[in-house]
């Protein structure tokens, strides 16, 4: 009786091991392939430069808010190995570095009170030209991105929406995942900003 119980236990254990093996094997394979994919996409580090006001006298608070929001949003995407600030000495030690340059193209200062009273006027609109440049000065990505605040929120919320749109644009860009960013993408991203408008 005892030997039959022991045999039953051994059989059950063997069945469980055999049943579990393919799953474990498949999950290991999946995690390896995921790591390979993310590894190729995360070969690059990014340095975010301060926002250039261009010929437009954008308030310093807007420039700083855009810069800080960009850093936050780009870190959230996990697209890059590291995200550096402008002037960071550690960025010089990294081999694969892209530099994000942001220049203000268009700015319409809105009013929170006007938005709250009328709902159709007083929108704050911010439009920037975003360029991803290699250390050698080669432009990898060149897009115009908008960030607006139409209904609710303070004027500075436009910078948050703008940063989110830029991060999304970079994430969806096909050239970042490749080993050598050779493709140059130019264009304008306007539809993407619609979701950011509040």
């Amino acid at each position: 009786m005892k030997t039959s119980n022991a045999k039953l236990c051994i059989c059950l254990a063997a069945i469980m091991v055999v049943a579990d093996a393919p799953g474990r094997l498949s999950s290991e394979t999946a995690s390896e392939s995921m790591a390979a994919v993310s590894g190729s996409a995360r070969r690059w580090s990014l340095q975010v430069d301060r926002v250039e006001p261009g010929e437009i006298g954008l308030a310093h608070s807007f420039q700083v808010a855009t810069y800080e929001n960009l850093l936050t949003e780009l870190n959230k995407t996990h697209q890059f190995m590291r995200v550096f600030r402008e002037g960071d000495r550690k960025a010089g030690e990294v081999s694969n570095l892209l530099i994000l340059k942001t220049t203000v193209v268009k700015y319409a200062q809105g009013s929170e009170t006007r938005r709250a009273v009328t709902t159709f006027s007083g929108a704050t609109k911010l439009s920037v030209r975003s360029q991803l440049v290699t250390r050698e000065g080669k432009v990898v990505l060149d897009r115009t991105v908008n960030g607006n605040v139409r209904f609710f929120g303070s004027n500075l919320r436009a910078t948050h929406n703008l940063a989110r749109n830029i991060a999304k644009m970079i994430k969806e860009s096909p050239c970042i995942g490749s080993e050598q960013p050779s493709a140059t993408v130019t264009g304008q991203l306007t539809a993407g900003s619609l979701r950011g408008e509040l």
Binding site: E55, G57, H60, S61, F84, G87, D88, S111, F152, L156
Partner: protein
């Protein structure tokens, strides 16, 4: 004899005057020294003001209220009952002022205004706004990376903070946001 007595008296009175004079001078010196000693710490006294941190200060939540303090050689922000965060004044690269008009009341007021019938909320919005000063501080971290922090203060208070920071060695900004607002107010710009 009487002349000798008068001469001696005169010498005594002269000596007394000299002693009184020197005592008075000594007292004056001590009082000046004491005043200087008491004035020296007041020049380095801490400066504190109520502010709202909008973004950018290290280890601090966005949109939170607290005390912005300038003490010794650091700019500190202390949230209510939380450890304070600080930035060395020597690392501050620019301090810029601006002004902003915002709706008051927070989210609760927004919901109330939206729910008010016959557009009553809009009428309330017309009056429920307040002007604030914005203080933008650009500073560098230990690795040289540029950071920016934005604070919101009551109208007219940001200038005091900037004056205090500049007096302690921070470099002032070249242009304030106020001067820009005049050129950009409610006008759309296009870079063609």
């Amino acid at each position: 004899m009487s002349r000798l007595f008068v001469f001696q008296n005169h010498r005594k009175s002269l000596f007394g005057r000299q002693v009184a004079c020197s005592l008075w001078l000594l007292l004056l010196c001590f009082s000046i020294e004491a005043w200087a000693q008491s004035a020296a710490p007041s020049a380095r006294a801490s400066f504190s003001i109520r502010a709202t941190h909008l973004l950018g200060f290290p280890n601090t939540k966005n949109n939170c209220n607290g005390d912005l303090t300038i003490k010794d050689d650091a700019l500190r922000f202390e949230q209510d009952s939380k450890p304070e965060a600080e930035v060395k004044i020597a690392s501050v690269q620019g301090v810029f002022l601006g002004s902003e008009s915002k709706q008051v009341g927070g989210k609760l007021a927004k919901v109330g205004k939206a729910a008010a019938p016959y557009g009553g909320g809009r009428a309330v919005s017309l009056f429920a706004h307040k002007k604030y000063d914005s203080l933008t501080v650009e500073y560098a971290d230990d690795d040289g990376g540029v950071h920016g922090a934005i604070f919101q203060l009551s109208k007219g208070k940001a200038e005091n903070v900037r004056r205090e920071l500049v007096a302690r060695g921070a470099s002032p900004g070249l242009r304030d946001d106020d001067s820009m607002e005049a050129s950009t107010a409610e006008v759309s710009h296009e870079n063609k």
